[in-house]
Structure formats: structure tokens, C-alpha cells
């Protein structure tokens, strides 16, 4: 790919991250009731049970430059964030926000990655088949049901699945990422299976909710591709329907579909965070919920920042992969 393209996508990445950071900062300081002050007062009220709270509060003031002019505070904030110094958490005191997030992030990414890959792949194939005239009747009838089903938000679907499969019959665990008390155990096949078991319902929520979206998108893209001249020529050449479907149809419909993926990642991430909340799944969604209840402002900010960073990174990766599937982009 060309340098120009690479730099352009990288620039977008930085603009997104910087915008998020700046918005974070502005909101924190523009809104009446200084949240950092709130954090500090929180610590003060808990101060009775925490040692050295006075020194910690003082070091906060210094670290975040609360006595300095606002633009200095901003620069300090940006510098800190880039170094992933996101502050100290209240709920997990004295653990830093970064440490807590590092523990929780793999769960979120694992769930998100697995579920999205499955939903995207299955949904795209389904969507492509729906657009193809030769697809059997049965699939056509089942598909709309599935698609309508997926218009229900991740969170609601999660709750419904939770009730239907975990509360009512006890087929699946009520929550958590692993059987309680086993967090410290070494990795083993049994542990992996246990993790998968706990991750089934949360993953299923995301897959079911997302399937219809990908199917519809692919169907639309496929319908457009099927109207193109090169499809007619492929047919005229007497190529096998299978070959036409995959190499001439799907392969081209995949392009707008991948673009769609890049654009939806933000929404998908938001949705799956809520699914974690419904299932008490130990990802960053869970951190967020607790942080909100305890007004752990640094944690809230930290989680939001990491969320933005994760999505922006994923989008960047997709952007860099795109020239590999579309030869028209970024070739010199």
C-alpha cells in the first residue's frame, strides 16, 4: 500500500484518540462540580480507613497540576494518558486504574473478538445466500425470523437469554467468567472449557443480536453486485454458479461489508459492554458498572478511554487490511 494511504489512516487514528481525550478533559472541567474534586473528597471520606490519604491527595494535586493554569492541566492530562497513567481506582484501591483495566481487558477482547467473528462470518454468508436466486425456500423463510430477532438490542437479548437458559433451567451459569474461586488456578483444558462455558451465553447474545445486521448488509451489497456487468459476463461465460457466487459475487460484496464492519465496531463494543453488565462478566463493562455506582471517576474515564482506544485500533487494523482485499485502493 502507498505511504499516503497508511499515513492518512494513522492520522485518523490519532485524531480519534486525541478527540476522545480532549472531550474527556473538557467535560471533566467544564461541568460544575469538579469530578476530580469529587474523587478527592471521596477519598477523604474513606480516608479514615486508608493510610496516607493526605499524601495521596496531595500527590494527586501535584500530579494533575490542579493548581496550574488549565492548559498546563490539559497537557499534563494528555501526557499522563499516553503513558497509560490513568490514576488510582477508588473501588480497587490502591490498585491503579491501568492495572484493573489490564486484568479486565482480555475478557472483553476475547468475548468481543470471538462473538464478532462468528456473527460477521455467519451473517455474511446468510446474507449472500439470501440475495442469490438459487437459494432454497427453507433458508428464505427461516432467515427473516432470525433477522427480526436480531433487531433486539444486545442488552435485552442478554437478559432474555439469561432468564431462559440460566435462571429458569439451570443449564448455564448465572454469570462470571469462570467458576468462582478458580481464578488463581493454572491454565488447563478443564479451565479453558470452563471459560468457554461461562462465555457461551454472553457470546450467544452478541452473535444473535449481530447476525441479522450482517446478513442484511451483505444482502444489500450482494444485490448491488449481482446487477453489475461483470456478473452478466461471468454468466455468459458459462462459469459454474458456485464459482460465480463466491469469486464474482461474494468477493466483491465483501468490500462494502468490511467497510460496514469498521464503521460498526464502536456500536458493537458499546453493546457488548452492556452484555458484560448483564452477565457480571469480568470485562471492562463490569468495571464500568462498579465504577459508576461508586463514582470512581478515574476508573470511568480510564475505561472510556481504553474503549475508544480499542475500537480505534481495530478500525486502523481493518483499514490497513482493506487494500489487501480491494486491489483498487492504495496501490501505486
Amino acid at each position: 500500500m502507498t505511504w499516503a494511504y497508511f499515513l492518512q489512516r494513522l492520522a485518523l487514528f490519532f485524531v480519534v484518540v486525541l478527540t476522545a481525550m480532549t472531550a474527556n478533559f473538557i467535560l471533566a472541567h467544564a461541568v460544575p462540580g469538579d469530578p476530580i474534586g469529587a474523587v478527592i473528597s471521596q477519598m477523604t471520606t474513606r480516608g479514615g480507613a486508608v493510610e496516607n490519604s493526605a499524601e495521596i491527595i496531595a500527590s494527586y494535586r501535584e500530579r494533575f497540576g490542579l493548581d496550574e493554569p488549565i492548559w498546563v492541566q490539559y497537557l499534563v492530562y494528555v501526557w499522563n494518558t499516553l503513558r497509560f497513567d490513568l490514576g488510582t481506582s477508588i473501588i480497587y484501591f490502591p490498585q491503579s486504574v491501568t492495572a484493573a483495566i489490564v486484568n479486565a481487558l482480555p475478557w472483553t477482547i476475547g468475548l468481543l473478538l470471538a462473538a464478532t467473528v462468528i456473527a460477521f462470518t455467519l451473517g455474511s454468508i446468510l446474507g449472500a445466500l439470501l440475495a442469490w436466486a438459487a437459494t432454497p425456500r427453507l433458508a428464505r423463510v427461516l432467515a427473516p425470523l432470525l433477522i427480526v430477532f436480531s433487531s433486539i438490542p444486545y442488552y435485552l437479548l442478554a437478559l432474555i437469554l439469561l432468564y431462559v437458559f440460566a435462571v429458569w433451567p439451570n443449564w448455564f451459569p448465572l454469570g462470571g467468567g469462570m467458576a468462582s474461586g478458580t481464578t488463581g488456578d493454572p491454565m488447563s483444558i478443564a479451565k479453558v472449557l470452563d471459560i468457554a462455558y461461562h462465555g457461551t451465553l454472553p457470546g450467544l447474545s452478541i452473535v444473535l443480536a449481530g447476525l441479522g445486521f450482517w446478513a442484511l448488509g451483505m444482502r444489500g451489497a450482494m444485490v448491488n453486485v449481482l446487477g453489475e456487468d461483470y456478473l452478466t459476463l461471468a454468466e455468459a461465460e458459462g462459469l459454474s454458479p458456485r464459482r460465480i457466487f463466491f469469486a464474482y459475487g461474494m468477493r466483491n460484496a465483501l468490500l462494502p461489508q468490511v467497510t460496514n464492519l469498521a464503521l460498526s465496531l464502536g456500536t458493537i463494543a458499546s453493546g457488548s459492554v452492556l452484555v458484560e453488565v448483564a452477565f457480571n462478566y469480568p470485562g471492562i463493562g463490569f468495571l464500568l458498572y462498579d465504577a459508576l455506582r461508586a463514582s470512581d471517576y478515574f476508573m470511568i474515564q480510564g475505561v472510556c478511554f481504553v474503549l475508544v482506544l480499542t475500537v480505534a485500533t481495530a478500525v486502523l487494523v481493518l483499514d490497513l487490511i482493506y487494500p489487501l482485499i480491494d486491489p483498487r485502493i492504495a496501490r501505486k
Binding site: 433487531s151 437478559l159 444489500g220 453488565v277 455506582r293 474515564q301
Partner: protein
């Protein structure tokens, strides 16, 4: 198809043909039915049921459904039927306001970007891409967490700030393709000013797309609201469907098998989303005739 000469007829009136499509599209009809019945409940309900009973401690708590309380009561002593009647219009209002504001702003930006192009387009498109990449929840959280108490209107406006991107994108794309169409060229040649072209030639043909974007925006707004409410950041004083679910989970209604508390709002929300979705897909099919032939 121009090579055949036009089939007997005239230049299609977009409004009439739209109405025709509505009547023949089952998805659209089903969706409209679902949504309008909810709207009817929201409008007529308060006249039939005393919404004061939706306030805390107006009834004995934790009662399962009975003749006195058809949907039972919750842990705070609220008559759940009243809660449902009171919260449905709130949620609908929220979606409507946020969707409307988001669609208007998005349409305006999309028109400007698509029609005038150049650096204006660049700026708007970049802003749209950036905002689309940022997970909406992250933005909502920071705002909601900073602002202590929110009213339904406030929430609506906050959410609207994230609802403009998709309309802007689709409108812009459509404007770009419409610009090249024959009747715009004709208008331009016959001397119409750019503004008049935008208003009288391009806009009427964008109406179906704007409608589709609006429906999608309303759905997205209620979804975003649900996200905030799931985390307890919704309006504390006015009941909404999402907050009702939140309170029920907080009080452990799941484990205590108080299905009458958490199930009705989820069902209503599900109906709402499915209905809006069907309308959206139906509209999509009406706009893209090739899709119609498929289903």
C-alpha cells in the same frame, strides 16, 4: 431502460409511489402496526390508568399480578401497570426528540457536504468518521457521569449528539449520486440557482431516504438511552422503560423470580425495536427496487 422509451406514464410522483409501496410491503405494514399500537397505548393509557400509582410507595410492595394490580407491584411500592403506562410515552418521547434532532442536523450536514463539496465536505466527512469510530457509550458515559441528574429532554439532546452521523453519511452519499442525474442537469442548464436546485429538485427525492434515516435514528436513540439506563444513568425521577429494568435488576428481581417487574418493560422495548426495525427494512426495500424483487 431508457433505450426502450418510457412505459406509458409520467414522471413518478415520489409521495404517491411511496404510499403505494407502503400498502404492498408486508414488513412495513407490520412494523407500522406494532409501533402505532405502542403509540396508542402511550397516548390513551394515561387517560385510563392513574399514573400517580407509578410513584413509589403508592401500593403495597412486591405483590404478584392480581385483580387489583394487573401487573403486580415492585419493590418500591409502585403499581407496575401504571409504571408501564407512564414510562412508555417517556421512552417514546426520548426517541422521538433525539431522532428528530439527530436527523435534522445529519440531513443538513449531509446536504451541505454532498452539494457543496470541497473543503466543507472534507471537514464534515472527517468529523463524521471520527465520531463514528468513537464508541457511543464512551461519549455518553462521560457526559452522563459528569452531569449529575438528567431529565428526559437532556438525555434526548445528549443522545442526539451521537445520532447525526449515520443520516449525514447516507444523505451525503445520495446527494452525490443525485447531483449527476439528468433532471438536476436540466435544472442547472435552465438557469436555476444552486439553492433552488437543492430545495426543489434534490430534496423531494431525498424524502424517502430521510424518512428511513429518521426511523433508524429513533431506534438508535432508544438503544443509546437503554445503554445509559442499563448502567443506572437515566432519569431518576421520571420513569422510563429502561430505568424500570434497571431498578428491577438492582433489587434482584431476577433471582427473586419477580418476572412481572422486569418482563413487561423488556417485552414492550422488544416490540418497539422490532417494529422500528421492520419499518426500516420495509423502507429500505421501497427505496431499492432490486431488493423488492428478492423477497
Amino acid at each position: 431502460m431508457t433505450s426502450l422509451g418510457t412505459a406509458p406514464g409520467r414522471r413518478p410522483n415520489p409521495v404517491l409511489s411511496a404510499l403505494g409501496h407502503v400498502a404492498t410491503n408486508p414488513k412495513l405494514l407490520a412494523g407500522l402496526l406494532l409501533v402505532s399500537s405502542l403509540v396508542a397505548v402511550a397516548a390513551i393509557g394515561p387517560l385510563l390508568v392513574d399514573t400517580d400509582m407509578a410513584r413509589p410507595i403508592s401500593a403495597p410492595s412486591n405483590r404478584p399480578p392480581s385483580l387489583d394490580y394487573p401487573l403486580g407491584t415492585d419493590g418500591g411500592g409502585r403499581d407496575l401497570l401504571a409504571v408501564m403506562i407512564a414510562s412508555t410515552p417517556q421512552t417514546l418521547r426520548l426517541g422521538l426528540i433525539a431522532g428528530l434532532v439527530g436527523t435534522i442536523v445529519g440531513t443538513f450536514l449531509g446536504l451541505v457536504a454532498g452539494f457543496f463539496g470541497g473543503w466543507l465536505d472534507k471537514i464534515i466527512s472527517t468529523a463524521t468518521d471520527v465520531m463514528l469510530t468513537i464508541p457511543p457509550l464512551a461519549v455518553l458515559l462521560i457526559v452522563a457521569a459528569s452531569v449529575r441528574t438528567v431529565s428526559v429532554e437532556m438525555m434526548a439532546f445528549i443522545i442526539a449528539a451521537l445520532a447525526w452521523m449515520n443520516p449525514a453519511r447516507s444523505i451525503r452519499a445520495q446527494v452525490l449520486s443525485l447531483r449527476e442525474r439528468a433532471y438536476v442537469e436540466i435544472a442547472r442548464i435552465s438557469g436555476m440557482s444552486e439553492l433552488r436546485i437543492a430545495l426543489f429538485e434534490v430534496l423531494p427525492n431525498l424524502l424517502p431516504l430521510i424518512m428511513a434515516s429518521f426511523v433508524a435514528a429513533v431506534s438508535g436513540a432508544i438503544l443509546a438511552a437503554l445503554g445509559l439506563e442499563a448502567l443506572g444513568l437515566g432519569p431518576q425521577d421520571t420513569p422510563t422503560l429502561g430505568m424500570t429494568v434497571y431498578w428491577s435488576l438492582l433489587y434482584g428481581a431476577f433471582g427473586r423470580n419477580m418476572w412481572w417487574w422486569w418482563a413487561p418493560p423488556i417485552v414492550v422495548l422488544a416490540i418497539l425495536f422490532v417494529g422500528l426495525f421492520l419499518i426500516s427494512v420495509g423502507l429500505d426495500e421501497a427505496l431499492n427496487p432490486r431488493l423488492r424483487r428478492q423477497s
